[in-house]
């Protein structure tokens, strides 16, 4: 990988800016263009930039968990968001439940789950190609 001072110095800022943008896109998605799919991809881009600058081993340290573990927890979260419907009113799985009068409901954790799966999926694919894993 190119050893550039600017790249290395800016890496963590770009990562956090990218993550902030991705969460913004994730949350606005219900009303404006955006959502979990796109948010997850943007978040992945932030990490990919970080990995290009600092090496994937460093990125994995920032991630703390393996990308697959992030993806797995996302899948669990998305599935779990469908359960209240089953328990509350015996409706089919993934009929979202809303708090009366507020746009807050089980669709939000579902979208976060999608976000995490996409993020984990993209990083699990890309990180192994971005340099020596054991830096």
């Amino acid at each position: 990988m190119p050893d550039s001072l600017i790249l290395r110095a800016s890496a963590s800022y770009v990562l956090w800016a990218g993550l902030a943008l991705s969460v913004f896109v994730l949350l606005r998605g219900h009303n404006e263009p955006g959502g979990g799919f796109i948010g997850g991809l943007i978040g992945a881009l932030g990490f990919v930039f970080h990995a290009l600058a600092r090496g994937p081993a460093e990125t994995r340290r920032v991630l703390r968990l393996d990308p697959l573990a992030w993806g797995g927890s996302g899948l669990l979260l998305a599935t779990a968001s469908g359960l209240p419907a089953l328990l509350l009113h015996a409706e089919p799985l993934l009929t979202h439940q809303w708090i009366d009068g507020l746009p807050i409901g089980t669709a939000i954790p579902f979208d976060i789950g999608v976000y995490l799966v996409v993020l984990g999926f993209a990083l699990a694919f890309v990180l192994p190609f971005l340099g020596e894993e054991s830096a």
Partner: protein, 758 residues
């Protein structure tokens, strides 16, 4: 009758309990025999016709229904009764074995499956339990998994019975379709009309094939003796009361509607007679006690199948009596063979001599069982033999003589197995031989004594067990009482003739056996050798096919996939006349046309440029062009996604290109390049045609309109695309992200392996 469903299901629930208890407290092992014993008493007390139904898969008409009638009661009694003896015996036989808990748990599973199969009143339910017996017996036969002989025998048994099970499943589904119900009692209630159904021949052949595989009928008989690799209690159980009798059970169960069909009769009598003869010859040339008994089981199964195939009240009664007789003596003799093997250190009938003084009780049990097997007067075995000959006397062709010869052979086997090890001058053994503990002797003694008791007093079971079971096979009452003496002088002559002929051959068996064993062609061309050749050919064929199909060239895989998918789609489109142009209103604006030109230029450039980085850039042009095109169509979310994916793809490609050494950039010959170009153009043309055809279909706006209107009130969101993804079609999305994660998992495994040094 809740007790009825509790029999198989509670036994099933006991499986982990058994494993846990025996593992923690090995002293509980012998006490497990209480479970089958209690079930035995329960089955004995339940009233005839007891039934239990519960909806299971109502949309397919499949029920969780159980029913107890004469036939299933007889089988359930054998399974639990002999099961109790086998459990008791096994606890001693394998006492101290590190995996005793696993063995007994698997045995419990097997018993539960057998009970479920014989009590099920639904064909699909019966099939489920049927396959469960195959799986459980696979585990039991392969219990000594460190021996390759046990492993291959377990695999062979599984292959044969499960292949038969597939045929049976097809037969069951056809039968359910023809009868309009999977309920066995409803099918039986329809009577003989089913035989005239156009599907009847298929049903008969498929179900018979499944039953023949399970019940080891010629030419599928070979797996049974190989299954002797199992521990002896398993052999005893599988052969006497369970596994192999299940095929007989189903044939008997489904006999009433088909019994007048010539095909049914021909199949059963033909296969049964061939099995009898093959089993008799193979039994005579065997000198290993267990394998010898196994071949005699093949003979017994052939006899039973033949009897079911004969439409005659007497044949049905004979089948039931013989089934009972065989279960009693076969379980007893197998258990005795296990005792002899364990104490004297060999199962070779040529070496075993004179054990009678050393193990008097074992000798007594062996004599009781052997005399019943030979059909000696006074034992229930002679009753079965008389019935058998009475049925066969009236039959045409060679069948009476086949019955005579085969029965004589059984007398020889009974003599060799039950008397030869015990009579004569004492043999030399390594350790002191003596009778085993009562836990191991109980079952052989009781079963042998039962053979004598029932022979003396058949009225004990005549109207309670035998007649109801025979009536179930026949589909109407038999009107036969065991008390009456069957047959005339001819039958008596045949009985005595079989005994005399058998005794004569027995005396000369020591000289006859080497001659028969010397017939090597029986091994070289038998079905067992054919099975081995078939399996080797299958493996070799798979290797050759894999080499051919999985050549390792990515370009080839891609070409094959594209040709198949797009070629197939194109042919389908052309054949169905789907080629069409959309209405002119949908044509593009000038800006979109310009974008399309940019995309096309990018695609062309990607093909023409030789430098890899240039190719990546050109491909990027295509991706971003498509993204902008989405924007002009108002699909902001789609464009957004397209851009992010495109960036990720380019980063990934560049990173890969920087890491991997690509020396030969493009090694294709001009001919190959032309072929690839033609393929690419073809794929593009077919794709375009498909899209045009899709667009030419009038658009149905109802769903779109509903989604647009419902998005805010129902899902609290103004972005309809996102609402569709996370709410309206959330279940689809859940499936998609699950697929994504599975793909990532597979990729991680592959990449990790590729990263490792070879």
């Amino acid at each position: 009758m809740v007790a009825l469903i509790a029999i198989p299901l509670l036994t099933l629930a006991c499986v982990p309990l058994v494993a846990w208890a025996v593992r923690r407290r090995p002293w509980t092992a012998p006490w497990l025999a209480v479970l089958p014993a209690a079930l035995f008493l329960l089955v004995l007390t339940l009233p005839d016709g007891a039934a239990f139904r519960l909806a299971w898969i109502p949309s397919l008409g499949v029920e969780l229904s159980f029913r107890l009638d004469g036939l299933s009661r007889l089988f359930a009694l054998l399974i639990t009764g002999i099961g109790a003896g086998v459990f008791l015996y096994a606890a001693s036989y394998l006492s101290g074995h590190a995996l005793l808990h696993r063995f007994l748990a698997t045995l419990t599973l097997f018993m539960a499956a057998m009970l479920g199969a014989v009590l099920a009143d639904d064909l699909v339910l019966l099939f489920v339990f049927w396959e469960l017996t195959s799986l459980a017996s696979f585990l039991l036969i392969g219990f000594d998994a460190h021996r390759s002989e046990a492993r291959s025998a377990a695999q062979q048994g599984l292959m044969v019975t499960v292949a038969g099970g597939l045929a049976m499943l097809a037969g069951v589904l056809l039968l359910g379709r023809a009868a309009g119900s999977f309920s066995i009692s409803e099918i039986l209630a329809q009577g003989g009309g089913l035989a005239d159904h156009p599907l009847a021949p298929w049903i008969v052949v498929l179900i018979a094939a499944g039953c023949f595989a399970k019940s080891a009928q010629w030419p599928l008989h070979f797996w049974l003796p190989n299954a002797m690799a199992a521990p002896t209690p398993v052999s005893a159980y599988l052969h006497s009361a369970t596994m192999v009798k299940l095929g007989v059970y189903l044939l008997a169960r489904l006999n009433p509607p088909f019994q007048d069909m010539a095909l049914w009769q021909g199949l059963l009598v033909g296969a049964g007679a061939a099995t009898m003869l093959a089993g008799a010859v193979l039994a005579l040339r065997e000198r290993d006690l267990k394998r010898k008994l196994a071949w005699s089981t093949v003979v017994a199964l052939g006899t039973l199948v033949t009897l079911i195939g004969i439409e005659d009240p007497l044949a049905a009664t004979a089948a039931v009596v013989f089934l009972l007789v065989h279960a009693l003596y076969k379980a007893s003799l197998f258990l005795i063979a296990g005792i002899v093997d364990k104490k004297a250190g060999t199962r070779d009938a040529m070496q075993l001599r004179g054990l009678r003084r050393l193990m008097p009780l074992t000798t007594a049990a062996a004599l009781l069982a052997g005399l019943s097997m030979a059909g000696a007067p006074g034992f229930i075995g002679s009753l079965a033999k008389d019935l058998l000959f009475t049925v066969h006397v009236g039959l045409p062709g060679l069948l009476p003589s086949v019955a005579l010869v085969v029965n004589a052979a059984m007398v020889v086997v009974a003599g060799v197995v039950a008397t030869r090890p015990f009579l004569g001058a004492p043999m030399e053994t390594e350790k002191a031989v003596q009778d085993p503990s009562m836990a191991m002797l109980a079952a052989p003694l009781v079963l042998g004594a039962l053979g004598l008791l029932l022979g003396m007093a058949p009225q004990l079971v005549d109207h309670t067990i035998i007649e109801p079971a025979a009536a179930a096979i026949l589909g109407r009452p038999t009107g036969i009482s065991l008390g009456e003496k069957q047959g005339g002088a001819l039958v008596l002559a045949m009985s005595l003739g079989a005994l005399a002929l058998g005794a004569l051959v027995f005396l000369g068996w020591q000289r006859l056996q080497p001659v028969l064993a010397g017939q090597r062609w029986l091994d070289a061309y038998g079905p067992d050798a054919g099975y081995g050749r078939g399996m080797r050919a299958l493996a070799a064929g798979a290797v050759a096919l894999t080499r051919r199909v999985q050549g390792g060239s990515l370009r080839r895989y891609l070409a094959a996939s594209l040709v198949l998918v797009f070629g197939g789609a194109g042919l389908l489109l052309a054949a169905r006349g789907g080629l069409a142009l959309p209405a002119p209103g949908l044509w593009a604006t000038p800006a979109q046309l310009a974008l399309a030109a940019v995309i096309a230029a990018g695609a062309l450039a990607a093909c023409r440029i030789r430098a890899l980085f240039g190719q990546v850039m050109a491909a990027g042009l295509v991706g971003f062009g498509v993204g902008i095109l989405f924007l002009t169509l108002g699909a902001a979310d789609l464009a957004f996604t397209q851009f992010t994916v495109e960036i990720l793809a380019i980063v990934l490609l560049v990173a890969v290109l920087a890491r991997l050494p690509f020396h030969a950039l493009d090694a294709r010959r001009p001919g190959e390049r032309r072929r690839d170009a033609a393929l690419a153009l073809g794929v593009g043309a077919v794709g375009t045609a498909i899209l045009l055809a899709v667009l030419s279909v009038p658009f149905e706006p109802a769903i779109q309109d509903w989604m647009g209107q419902a998005a805010v009130p129902e899902a609290k969101g103004r972005n309809v695309v996102n609402v569709v993804i996370v709410d309206f079609r959330a279940l689809d999305t859940l499936g998609e992200i699950a697929v994504l994660l599975i793909a990532a998992l597979s990729a991680a495994v592959l990449l990790r392996r590729a990263g490792k040094p070879a």
